[in-house]
Symmetry: C2
Subunit: 327 residues, 2 copies
C-alpha cells in the first residue's frame, strides 16, 4: 500500500506519520511506500519503509499531478492555511484551501482507468457558524463565519460529489479543537485552551483570556490520529453519499479544564494560570461551537482516546512529556 500525506509537516500530519511508521501498516495492509508533502520539508522518519519527501505547494497543479501520478492508494489531505491566516490573506486561503483541493481531486480524476483512491479530507468545526443550538447535531447546516470554514465546507461538498460520481472514495472528517496542542503558544485565538494546560505542566505561566464558563469541543492529538486511521481504512459503503462527519469529542468548560488539571497535576500547577480577560478573544470565542451530538460518527466506529478531560491531560503528559511534568 502506498500512502500520500499532504500537509505532513503540520502538527497532526507529523503525528499521523509517526503512527503510520510505527505501525508499519494501515489496517490490514502493509505500507510499501510513503510520500510526505508539505510547503516546508517534512522530516523524513526513521523507517525501513521507502519514504519520498516532497516540498511544494498544494496550489501547484503540476506538483499535485506528479504526486497523484504515483497512484497512492490512500491520501490524507491535511494541507491547509489555518483559520486566522486564511482570514487575513484572502487570496492565499482560497488558493491553498479551495484551489489546492480541486487540483487534488481533478488530478485523481485525470488518472482514470478505475483509479479510485481513498481520500481522507480533514475538515473542521469551523464549517459551523453561530448562532447554534446548545449541541450541534449531524444534520445542522453549514453557515461558516470565516473564509477558512467556507473553504472547508466547499471541500466537503466537492469530495462528496466526486465520490458520488465514482471518481474517488472520499470522506471528510471535522476535527474538534485539538487539545493539548504541543509546541509553543501560538497566536491562534483558540491557543489558550491548550496553553493553560501545556505551559503550567512545563513550569511556565499561561494566560487565560476568557471566563471559566466558556465551553468548547476538544479531542486529543491521539484521538485525531485515530480518526484519520479509521477514516483511511473503514468500509465507506456504510457511510452512503453524505461523506462529511463531525468527529466525536469532549465538551468541557474552561473551569472543568482547570479542575481536571488540578486533579491530575496539583494546585501548584494550576496556580500558574493567570486570568487576564481579553474582550477581543472573548468576542471571537463566543461565536464558536460549544458541544456536539456525533451519533453518526460514533455508529460508524469513530472513537476518542479519552473519556474525560483528565484523560486529555494524561495523554499529553504521556505522549509529549515522557510521563513527567513540573509539579
Amino acid at each position: 500500500m502506498h500512502i500520500l500525506v499532504l500537509g505532513a509537516a503540520g502538527m497532526v500530519g507529523r503525528k499521523l506519520v509517526e503512527r503510520l511508521v510505527s505501525d508499519g501498516r494501515l489496517g490490514k495492509a502493509e505500507i510499501a511506500a510513503l510520500t510526505l508533502q508539505d510547503v516546508v520539508a517534512p522530516a523524513a522518519p526513521k523507517t525501513s519503509i521507502p519514504v519520498n519527501v516532497v516540498t511544494g505547494d498544494v496550489a501547484d497543479p503540476a506538483m499535485i499531478a506528479k504526486l497523484i501520478a504515483g497512484k497512492p492508494d490512500v491520501i490524507f489531505h491535511l494541507a491547509a492555511i489555518v483559520s486566522g491566516e486564511a482570514e487575513a490573506e484572502f487570496d492565499k486561503g482560497y488558493r491553498i484551501n479551495l484551489d489546492g483541493t480541486r487540483y487534488l481531486i481533478d488530478a485523481i480524476r485525470a488518472i482514470g482507468g478505475g483509479y479510485k483512491p481513498r481520500l481522507v479530507f480533514t475538515s473542521s468545526i469551523a464549517v459551523f457558524g453561530a448562532p447554534f443550538p446548545e449541541r450541534i447535531g449531524d444534520e445542522f447546516f453549514n453557515t461558516p463565519l470565516t473564509s477558512y470554514g467556507t473553504q472547508k465546507a466547499i471541500g466537503e461538498l466537492l469530495i462528496s460529489d466526486y465520490t458520488r460520481k465514482g471518481l474517488l472514495d472520499g470522506i471528510s472528517i471535522r476535527l474538534p479543537t485539538i487539545c493539548v496542542r504541543p509546541g509553543t503558544p501560538n497566536k491562534a485565538a483558540s491557543g489558550f485552551f491548550s496553553n493553560i494546560i501545556r505551559e503550567p505542566l512545563a513550569g511556565k505561566e499561561a494566560v487565560l483570556p476568557v471566563s471559566e464558563d466558556v465551553m468548547h469541543w476538544h479531542a486529543s492529538p491521539r484521538s485525531a490520529v485515530g480518526f484519520l486511521l479509521h477514516a483511511g481504512t473503514m468500509d465507506l459503503a456504510a457511510v452512503g453519499p453524505r461523506r462529511a462527519l463531525s468527529m466525536p469529542g469532549l465538551a468541557a468548560t474552561v473551569g472543568e479544564q482547570i479542575a481536571a488539571l488540578t486533579r491530575v497535576a496539583g494546585k501548584s500547577v494550576t496556580a500558574r494560570i493567570k486570568r487576564e480577560p481579553d474582550p477581543t478573544i472573548m468576542g471571537i470565542v463566543s461565536g464558536w461551537p460549544r458541544d456536539f451530538v456525533t451519533d453518526r460518527a460514533k455508529k460508524l466506529g469513530f472513537i476518542t482516546a479519552e473519556k474525560t478531560f483528565d484523560d486529555i491531560i494524561k495523554i499529553h503528559i504521556d505522549d509529549e512529556l515522557g510521563g513527567k511534568f513540573a509539579a
Copy 2:
C-alpha cells in the same frame, strides 16, 4: 441604476427582463441602463432604457470582467447549466456553475474602491438531497445528490463569505420548481409537473410518469420574478451573515394538481393526461424534496403570487395564454 442580468435568455431571465422593462424601475430607483448576457443572444426588449446585449460564456473571465467594469448596481446571476446537463457533462457543469460564479465575484472584488453591488444568485432546492424530513426547515443541511446541487451549494457559500468580507452585497435564493413552465415539453425529469398542466390547456395530450401521491414544491414564474425583485431591493442588513434562503412555495401532490386543473379548466382538459408510469422517473423523483418550512424568507418579505395550485394554473392562463385555453 444599472442592472446586469446574467442568463437573460433563460425562461426566468426573460420574464425578469420583461418585468424590469415594464416597471422601468427597480424598487425606488429608475433603471438607467440594462445589460443582458447569455450564451445565446438574449432578445433585446422594446424599451427606451438603453440596453446592452452581450453574447458570451460566464466561464470566460475576460467577458465577465468587461461586464463588471461597467459597475452595475444590481446583478441578477441566473446563468447556469441545468441539473441534467451538469450531471451528464461534468466539466461543463463545474466550469459554468462553479468557475463562472467565482469569476463573477472575483471580478467584482477586483474593481475595489468601495464598489459593492447587490448580487442576487438563483440557487435551487437541489442543494438538498434525500433522505429528508417531511418538511425541510431553514436549518437543514445541504447534502446535494447532483453536481448541479453541489455547485449551487458552493455558490451560496462563496457569496455568503464574500458578503461577510464586505466585497459585495449578496443573497442566494433557492427557487422551488417553476410551474407552470411555459414552452414545449423538455427532457428534464421534472418536466411532467408542468407538462400535465400546460399541454392539456393547449389541447394536447401529456404523459404522467409517476403516481398521483407524488408531492413536490412549486412556485409560478410570476412568483419567481417577484422573489428576484425583492432580493434585488430589500434591506439585506436584516438577513445577517446567513445569505442563503429557501423561497416560499406550494407543496402539492400530482393528484392535487390534477384536481385543481379540473376545477379551473374542466374534466375534458384533465382527460388529456395519460398515465404511463416510468420507473426511472419515479426513482429520480423519489429523491426530491416534497415540502418546506420557509419561515425565514416569509419574515423577510418574500411572498408567493399564488395561494393555491388553482392560482398557479390561472397565472399560467393569464400570463401565457392570454386568458384562454382549449376546453
